[in-house]
Amino acid sequence: MEIKIGMDGDFVIAELSGDLVAGTAEQFKEQMSKLMEKNFLNVVLELSKVTFMDSSGLGSCMAAHKAFNEKKGILVCTRPSETVAKVFRVTRADQKLNMAANRLEAVLFLQNAVLSGRQA
């Protein structure tokens, strides 16, 4: 799995590619921890290039969502492929995580949340 980190204004764009699975979930968690350590707390997680996600990958997204929330940050997941979206859907995680249809929508979500001073 590869994680590309970029910025869109004040927000971090973390673009994942490859498999988010038991063998790579730790790498993802470490990367999210590094962002939090550096106080980058509002993050768009681009999932369109994630080819496969298992329950460990899902668990790592849940863990990251919780960790950002605890630090008053926000993680927004965007554009999962159909295979990945299915995992979110059947587990109902899509109702608990912040999901956006695309990067623009995710950034707008973050902007609105920051402006209104609320946490997701």
Binding site: D19, V21, A22, G23, F52, D54, S55, S56, L58, G59, S60, M62, A63, H65, K66, E82, T83, K86, V87, V90, T91, R92, A93, Q95, K96
Partner: protein
């Protein structure tokens, strides 16, 4: 009896689970090339991955065996590991996302297996736990 499309044995490492999934995916796509089969194949591979992950994480076995079998009505994916008998819980449910402890970070594996496979069977024979997943897929 069906036709064995893939048989593999591997050390219980998560990287090997990914390799086995990709090998199974290639064979599944060749066996069922029609576009309508793709979502069903992907569901079988999700269930198979969870079953293999469980074998790697919990079985304590030195080796994980898998078989992919083509049968008249669909595909069978079997995971075999030597060790103590595993008895699955009677009711498999997704973890509660609204519980007092907040979002769970685990416990989804068995529920994903039972959601994604059309049938799941747990057997114990000759000192081996055998998980058999079946997905019904039409050839047409």
């Amino acid at each position: 009896m069906g036709e064995i499309l893939l048989a593999m044995k591997f050390e219980p490492l998560f990287d090997h689970v990914s390799e086995a999934r990709l090998a199974a995916q290639d064979i599944c796509k060749k066996h069922y090339p029609q576009p309508g089969a793709e979502p069903l194949l992907s569901e079988l591979l999700m269930a198979a991955t969870e079953a293999m992950n469980n074998a790697v994480e919990h079985s304590g076995a030195k080796e994980v065996e898998i078989e992919l079998i083509g049968e008249g009505r669909g595909l069978i994916f079997r995971v075999l590991t030597a060790g103590n008998r595993f008895d699955p819980p009677a009711d498999v449910a997704f973890p509660d996302l609204d519980g007092p402890d907040g979002l769970p970070e685990g416990g989804f594996g068995l529920a994903i297996i039972s959601e994604m496979a059309d049938s799941v069977q747990y057997d114990y024979r000759d000192g081996k736990n055998i998980v058999t997943l079946t997905k019904y897929i039409s050839k047409n």
